[in-house]
């Protein structure tokens, strides 16, 4: 099965040549960034300008 490539944070990742542990690292980074973006979305709405 061919998985292809993914681009994240200006870096290219070839999924065919990556281990499970390397993919898990990227998952952890992406999930922390996702939570950050949701929380920063709350702050932009509540910030007084």
């Amino acid at each position: 099965m061919k998985l292809g490539t993914i681009v994240y944070e200006n870096e290219i990742y070839n999924l065919d040549y990556m281990n499970a542990s390397e993919i898990k690292q990227i998952i952890n980074i992406a999930e922390t960034n996702k939570i950050k973006n949701i929380n920063e979305g709350k702050q932009t709405i509540n910030k007084p300008y």
Binding site: M1, L3, G4, I6, Y8, L15, M18, N19, A20, I23, K24, I26, I27, A30, E31, N33, K34, N37, I38, E40, G41, K42, T44, I45, N46, K47, P48, Y49
Partner: protein, 275 residues
């Protein structure tokens, strides 16, 4: 509906956040599905390698000088390759059920995460309208409902992530336990022919190595494979479908669309200038 802050700046920031969150939801879902496939492939490969090593050590115990130039080498090689192919296909079919369940949970997670983001936006946007109408008695009820949805959705997202990790761990255990001997050590019951007095020990190991290998090494493995097919694989519905990442990506994007572009959420997104 109005936002509390400066509208232009906030709408630009929210648009960026919306796009980032949307992309990260799809990316994490794709990576989780790829991670599940990689784990299954790696565990199957280690189990097959263990089986190869056990066969090699058993053959070495029977006759340490059995090699490429010895008699019936190619016959045994073909039989071993056929057995290992069956071994691997059984494990792949067994994995398929677990991987399907993991993919369904990943798609549920996509729905909950996108609902969570829309619930956060809805929560912040409903508050200014409630302040303008303070005399209504039903002031607190929509707040509570919105708060409950955000908290409940966060809990459900955590539960689903735990469930995905648990399913991967269960899959690995069951693969390692499949088609395994009751005795974890290598069997030492090698059926050798009776030594004839006139023939020395030098020749004794070289007689009927083919038959000894077949009876003591290959037939027990075939027996375990057949038992596994009868006991385990018949209970399971597998379709022999290979994992297609593009189809998974399509389903992920459809589920996201269904949430972000639903009737309730479309108004919020249009008011913010996202859609």
């Amino acid at each position: 509906m109005r936002i509390k802050t400066n509208d232009k700046y906030a709408s630009i920031m929210l648009k960026n956040r919306y796009e980032n969150v949307k992309n990260e939801i799809t990316l994490t879902a794709i990576l989780n599905s790829v991670y599940a496939q990689k784990i299954s492939n790696e565990t199957i490969q280690t189990k097959v390698n263990h089986q190869i090593h056990s066969i090699e050590t058993a053959i070495n115990r029977i006759n340490p000088k059995f090699g490429e130039k010895s008699k019936n080498y190619e016959k045994i090689k073909e039989q071993i390759l056929d057995i290992l192919n069956e071994f691997e296909t059984n494990l792949k079919q067994f994995c398929e059920v677990f991987d399907k369940e993991i993919q369904e949970t990943i798609l549920q997670k996509v729905e909950f995460e996108s609902q969570l983001f829309m619930a956060v936006l809805r929560k912040e946007l409903l508050e200014p309208n409630e302040k303008k109408q303070p005399k209504q008695k039903e002031k607190n009820k929509p707040k509570q409902n919105v708060k409950n949805t955000v908290e409940t959705l966060e809990k459900e997202v955590r539960k689903i992530t735990q469930k995905i990790n648990e399913l991967n761990e269960q899959k690995v255990k069951k693969i390692f336990d499949a088609m395994e001997t009751e005795n974890k050590a290598i069997s030492t019951q090698i059926r050798k022919p009776r030594t004839i007095k006139k023939i020395t020990k030098f020749f004794a190991n070289r007689f009927n190595t083919y038959h000894v290998i077949v009876k003591s090494v290959l037939e027990p493995i075939e027996h375990r494979i057949d038992e596994f097919k009868v006991n385990e694989l018949e209970k399971v519905d597998f379709q022999n479908q290979e994992f297609d990442l593009k189809e998974m990506e399509k389903e992920i994007r459809e589920r996201e669309k269904n949430v972000f572009e639903s009737e309730e959420n479309r108004k919020i997104c249009e008011s913010l200038g996202i859609l």
